[in-house]
């Protein structure tokens, strides 16, 4: 198979990173590793956003999710007696099962792919055909025009969440 464009390669890499990150988030034994894996996933998704022309959102993803939520989680882990769990038994048998399972799943997916498209390979082009040169302005226009009400409600909701979180987590005398 010949690589026809870098887009396909980039897309593949980013997707695989995202999926394996998600997998590891779910099944890591140590909690901190899960958080780091989540970080990886979030980053990959941000990459995908950039590829699809949603740069604004990609930036927000990095700032808010990777810089905010993940930090929150780290704080949470440090402040609570969170223990690590045994997610998957570290037996050789299970690794074999996992590998065989993944192999089967991949074969199955490839087969489905072939059945529906008639080929094993397909070019993936996800970059937008139009360029956004006034992205910020357009988004602002949307926020204040079409999506004004949700925007205001969102600010109220964030305020409520803020107060609520403070109240719930306050120190008891």
């Amino acid at each position: 198979m010949g690589v026809s464009s870098g887009q396909t390669a980039a897309f593949l890499v980013l997707s695989l990173l995202a999926i394996s990150g998600a997998f590891y988030t779910a099944f890591a034994n140590k909690l901190f590793h899960s958080v780091l894996a989540l970080l990886l996933t979030l980053g990959s998704i941000a990459g995908l956003y950039f590829m699809m022309g949603a740069e604004f959102l990609g930036v927000l993803q990095i700032l808010l999710y990777m810089g905010g939520v993940v930090v929150l989680f780290v704080f949470g882990i440090m402040l609570t007696p969170a223990r690590d769990e045994d997610r998957l038994p570290p037996m050789v048998k299970w690794h074999m099962v996992a590998i065989i399972g993944v192999g089967l799943l991949t074969t199955f997916l490839v087969f489905i792919f072939y059945y529906y498209t008639g080929q094993f390979w397909h070019e993936i082009r996800i970059t937008p055909r139009i360029t956004y040169d006034k992205m910020f302005q357009d988004i602002s226009a949307l926020l204040t025009d079409k999506f004004l009400v949700p925007f205001e409600v969102l600010s109220v909701a964030i305020l409520v969440a803020l107060i609520g979180a403070l109240y719930v987590a306050r120190k008891r005398e």
């Binding site: 999926i19 998600a22 988030t25 779910a26 959102l57 609570t80 937008p128 079409k146 969440a161």
Partner: protein
């Protein structure tokens, strides 16, 4: 079934990716005993939803402006962050009451 067209294939593949992330998020929530682990799963799910929205914003023919998908995802992102904050606050309160982060420890409902 008819042979898929080019853009359909790309769309399908992207959607498969986001679905996988969503499924893994559910798995994380359902199988983890740790409350913080469950929140991680929830974040995964929300992210996959955002991805979905952006995908449809990019590929859909009905929506005039792909930016609308982004704005929608923006709202969700904001709420997700807020929810993560509140969730962690709740976990702190839980820890104070039940002494542990295990989801099973907080079970006073008989049944």
């Amino acid at each position: 079934m008819s042979r898929a067209r080019g853009s359909n294939v790309v769309l399908s593949v992207l959607l498969i990716v986001s679905t996988l992330i969503f499924g893994l998020g559910i798995l994380a929530v359902v199988t983890r005993r740790n409350a913080i682990g469950m929140l991680l799963g929830i974040e995964l799910m929300l992210n996959s939803v955002n991805l979905n929205l952006v995908i449809f914003g990019r590929f859909s023919e009905r929506i005039a402006d792909p930016l609308e998908g982004q704005v929608y995802a923006l709202f969700i992102m904001a709420l997700a962050v807020a929810e993560a904050a509140v969730g962690l606050a709740l976990i702190l309160a839980l820890v104070r009451k039940f002494g542990s982060v295990d989801a099973d420890a907080a079970g006073t409902l008989k049944g």
